[in-house]
Each structure stands twice: as C-alpha cells, then as structure tokens.
Symmetry: C2
Subunit: 210 residues, 2 copies
C-alpha cells in the first residue's frame, strides 16, 4: 500500500471495506496528518505579515517541524498496514500439537508487540503536533485561529484513536509486564495530550465567540 498517492475516495472505500488494512490505526495517522496540515496552514497565513514580525522566527521553526510530522504521519499509514501482516500470519499458524501451539504463541507475542509500536508512534507524533498547534493558536494569525482549533481536535482524535490500537494488541500479550509498560506510556500520552488539546480548543472557542 502507498497511501500518499491513493485518491481520497479510493482510500476511504478501502477503509470502509472488510480488508484488514487500512484500519483504525492507519486512519488515525491520516487524521493526525490532516490536523498537522492545518498547523502549517496557520503558519503560512502568519509569516510575511508585518503584524506578526515578532513571532515570525518562532512560527517558521514550528512550520518546519509540522512539515516533518505531516510526512511522518503519512508514512505511518503504510507502516501500520505492514505491521499488521505478521500478526495476521501468526493467527493463521497451526495450533494442534503442543509444539505448534508453543511456536504460535511465540510468533504471536512478537507480532503483537510490533503491531502495538506503530500506533504508539502515531500517538507520540500527534502529541508533538498538538504542541505545534498550541503555538499556532496562541501566536499565529488571528484570521486563522479557527483552523488551529480544528487541527487540535483532529490530533486529539488521532491520539485517542491510535491508543485503542495499542490496547487491542497489549490486551492479548502474554508478557503482562511489557504490556503494562506500553499501556502506561499510552495513558500518559492520552492524559497529557487530551488536556492540552482541550485547553487550546477552549481558548480558540472563547476567542471566536467573544
């Protein structure tokens, strides 16, 4: 799969189908990329304007970061699909003899671990995007403040969406200590990311409705 070059309707049709990939993980990466693009949009509407000369350097630095994150998230759509393949193969392994079952468990455990790392990476990446949107909402052009508010909602949903895709994998892991470590990492990212996203959105909403 090469999600980037797929037509929007084509991607959405495959997502809607019963094909195993893309699923909620890849869709979260895409939604995070859309949110990050809105951060760039605010930046592009800010730089070069006299009124925002003082923050221009800071905005430009954030825009560079946003561009990287956007690219990374688009790559993560494919990476999520690739990580699902070994998991899907592991499910298909025979489990009739004790030996087969033991081997299957081993392969499965490794595949679950790898499949949970991609949505975790999506979570970490959209958390960074939320930080960029914080700056854009605070210091970017007031004419585009609503776009920062929209972007932060998308990244919030991508964060929570990706977390479900970590939890469905860690739930099945036999190594509970490793699973718990991943879960705590997710919980921290959710707590921090949702709090920050909601704070940005509240500020934007208040500014727009005052």
């Amino acid at each position: 799969m090469n999600a980037k070059t797929m037509e929007i309707e084509q991607f959405i049709d495959v997502l809607a189908s019963k094909a195993a990939v893309p699923g909620g993980g890849g869709a979260s990466a895409l939604t995070g990329a859309i949110g990050t693009a809105l951060a760039s949009m605010v930046g592009n509407l800010t730089v070069g304007k006299k009124k925002y000369k003082e923050v221009e350097e800071q905005i430009r630095a954030q825009m560079e970061e946003a561009e990287q994150i956007q690219k990374q998230l688009l790559e993560l759509i494919d990476k999520d699909a690739e990580a699902f393949e070994p998991l899907s193969k592991a499910y298909g392994l025979p489990k009739e003899t004790e030996e087969q079952l033991c081997y299957r468990n081993q392969v499965m455990e490794e595949a679950l671990w790898k499949a949970s790392l991609v949505p975790l990476e999506i979570m970490e990446t959209v958390s960074e995007a939320i930080s960029i949107l914080e700056v854009m909402a605070e210091k970017g052009s007031r004419l585009a403040v609503s776009d920062a508010g929209v972007g932060v909602q998308f990244c919030r949903s991508a964060l929570l969406g990706a977390s479900l895709n970590v939890f469905i994998n860690t739930k099945l892991m036999k190594d509970r200590e490793r699973a718990q470590q991943l879960n705590s990492r997710c919980d921290k990212l959710i707590e921090d990311g949702v709090r920050r996203a909601d704070a940005v959105f509240d500020i934007v909403m208040k500014e727009i409705r005052k």
Copy 2:
C-alpha cells in the same frame, strides 16, 4: 476543486498551504468521512457471520446509511470551498462611498449566511454518523469494536471542527437574531453529539481494557 479524486498527499499539501480553500471546514468534512468509513468497515466485518445473524438486518440498514453519509461528506468538502468564494469576493468589494459600503454589507451578510450553512450541514451529517457508530459499537463484530471507537472520535472532532467554521461566520453577521438561531442549533448539535460520542468511546475503551 474535486477533493474525491485528489491524491491524499496532494490534498494535504494544499490544505497546509496558504490557499483559502480547503480549510478547517472542508477538512472537517473529510475527517467525518473517514470516521463514517470506519462504521462501514465494522459493518462489513459483521454481516455474513453466523454469530451476528440476529443483528444482520439492522447492521445492513446502518451500512446503507453510512455509505450515503460518506458520499455526502466527500461532496461537502467541495461545497465548503464553493461557499467560500462569494465571501472572499465580498471582502474585496470597494468601501469608499456610503453607497458602496451599504452594498458591500448586504453582499457580505448573504455570503456569511451561506458560508455558515455548509459547516452546519457537516455538523448535522456527522451527528448522524455518530448514531451509526453507536449501533456498530454496540451490535457490530466485537473483533472490530476498536474501529467503531476510532470512528466516533473522528466524527466528534469533525463536529467540533465544523462548529468553529459556523461561529467564525455568525460572529460577523449583522442580523444578530439569525446569527443566534444558527449558534443555538450548533450548540445543541455539539452538546448532543459530544455526549453521545464520549459515551460510545467510553464503552469501547472499557471493553478493550477489561
């Protein structure tokens, strides 16, 4: 613009640019379409399975609705861009004489009204998608329950994202009564939609982490 046939990366690059459209409104329609596609995915993984024979008819009906909504939301990306054009033109009208100013105000008022109706339609459409995701999360295949949870987060963010695009227009409307009517409609959609989306997500999260 024909968003449907644009490549994903191409659309995201235009979104990130300083081009006036697509902006937060069109991006909300797209994110809503992605969320709705996940409802269809859950449906497709449910129908035809013995275990879900009893709910098959209900799920099929929801899937048909989801397909319509998904199409509608993809069309709304373009519709939002089209509604922005007259508004952008109104801003450019001369405002030197009393007469020009009066005409400009009149054109502007009409353009603001029309530009706020599209994001309102996006809000109404994703609210319906949330209802479908409610059914999918409750009665669809348990193997895809996380996808229903992801979808509902996307529709929640699309609802809130689109609302900002109503509020930026109603804020500038001179006819405050009409503006207030639109705002109250938004407030109701937000209150109802966010509450339902959060309830679905909580149930999904609890099921996955139990």
